[in-house]
Symmetry: C2
Amino acid sequence: MGTEYFAGLDLGGTFLKYALGTADGKILKKGKRPSRADESQADVFSVMFDAIAELQQEASKRKGDLVAIGVGSPGAIDFDKGRLIGSTPNIACWANADIRGKIADKFHLPVWADNDANIMAFAESRQGAAKGCRNVICTTLGTGIGGGIIIDGELYRGTNYAGTEIGHMMIVHDGLPCNCGGRGCFEKYASAPAMVRHYVSLLTESGKKVPKNVSTLTIFQKAAEGQSEANAAIDITLGYLGTGFASLVNIFNPELLVVGGGVADAGDDFIARIHRAIKKRAMKPVLKGFKVVRAILGNDAGFVGGIRLAAEMLHK
Amino acid sequence: MGTEYFAGLDLGGTFLKYALGTADGKILKKGKRPSRADESQADVFSVMFDAIAELQQEASKRKGDLVAIGVGSPGAIDFDKGRLIGSTPNIACWANADIRGKIADKFHLPVWADNDANIMAFAESRQGAAKGCRNVICTTLGTGIGGGIIIDGELYRGTNYAGTEIGHMMIVHDGLPCNCGGRGCFEKYASAPAMVRHYVSLLTESGKKVPKNVSTLTIFQKAAEGQSEANAAIDITLGYLGTGFASLVNIFNPELLVVGGGVADAGDDFIARIHRAIKKRAMKPVLKGFKVVRAILGNDAGFVGGIRLAAEMLHK
């Protein structure tokens, strides 16, 4: 038997990203295919099968074997069974998808599947910004606020694998209704769409024209140009980020907060401002040694996490 | 060598409660002494020494040996070193107290010390309301909102032993300032003094006389008599309890929430109403199988937890 190789798959609403790697996460080949998420579950699986077959060929070419597969997917995933629990809003056809069952049937290989935010946290913990840390909160700031929590070096998944929904911690009692059924959720006030909402409402109050297609990028650009509404929208969002993350820091006393996702791309200054917003609100003893850093694996986090998870689980 | 007995000590601002028990938490003798917390650290230790000597005698009388000591104390405690980290507001003289060092020097026995909310959670998890559960949030509703979190059957203490400050999760962004340095903390809106504040402000709004020495007991009595302000104060508090606990349930996806402390003594109906307030706000997947129960060890939780902790650590 040749060298052991692992496949990491990262399923998104638009693309399936995938890679072949070694147990220690060295990436040997990566690819990207349309995920066909708007078609049927069988179509999505056929995209996965083609990607795995491609990686298997690559493994052979390198005189090695594909020995296990790790998959990151949106939705709540029963980690023991490797399948979706119910539906996931971004991929309608993906409800109850039996990821492990379907892939294992086809390739006769061990398969593990986990929620994509968990996989991202796992990747950052194994070879990213949180390498070597015991207690970490990993978060993605984007359309929503997702999170994965590492406790004593391991992913915390919750009793029904439905845990660590940090975006749905309620930071404004009886605030704006959220799709989750709650009110005043963290992501309702501190995600990218929330920052845009704060900005639009400040422009409207000032009687200024609201441009089309405002994004957080627009806001950061306008702020850099000195526009007061853009700066105020960022400050307001930072206030909410401070409240939400300081609460998590008071509860978990982690050594590290890793921030990824589109909004984190605003850069290191924004990360430093998040840290200051947390320091202003969190308790002194939990702040000792506490750091805030940017995620470093970016778009690779999904397949890197899948590869590392498959390798760790296989050799457990 | 005879039977192994363990001492559990529960230090409070007024009393030291203590007991002798077996490894499986059977209590053989219990006692209570003024803790002399308003005197010096040496005085508090002398009270502890007297209590331990009394328990040691009891062990001998039973033809056994006191083999280890577990201590619950207010404040953040370095569990590895068995000593306070900094100060604790309720016992001024107790800053940096070297609980393990002082007691071990005197009795030449192994000593473990932990925060009192952790010890309470540990006791409920080993032989109380959370027996046999993997992921549990234990909370005390009283002057503040304290908590201990059990993950995979073990206490989660945080990186600097400063974690699980659930009372300082912020549920009202930029709300009332809290002693902790934050604003809008859970305990500022949902503790016993908060319920009293809601009640007093409702009475004042109605132009009614505010009685002296209002307690949550008064409020529950008045509510039972049908007074609308008392009922409204309870409803408002339940709303905040719903927001705070639903957030924790969304984050941790625990199987159980254990509620103890003075306010929980309002009875099972109040516990059921807390459960409904959580259900109204939490996400569907985390609610599957989730239960809310009353703590059952009451005032014994401190020394029972100390005994169980000492026994588990000794035989680890």
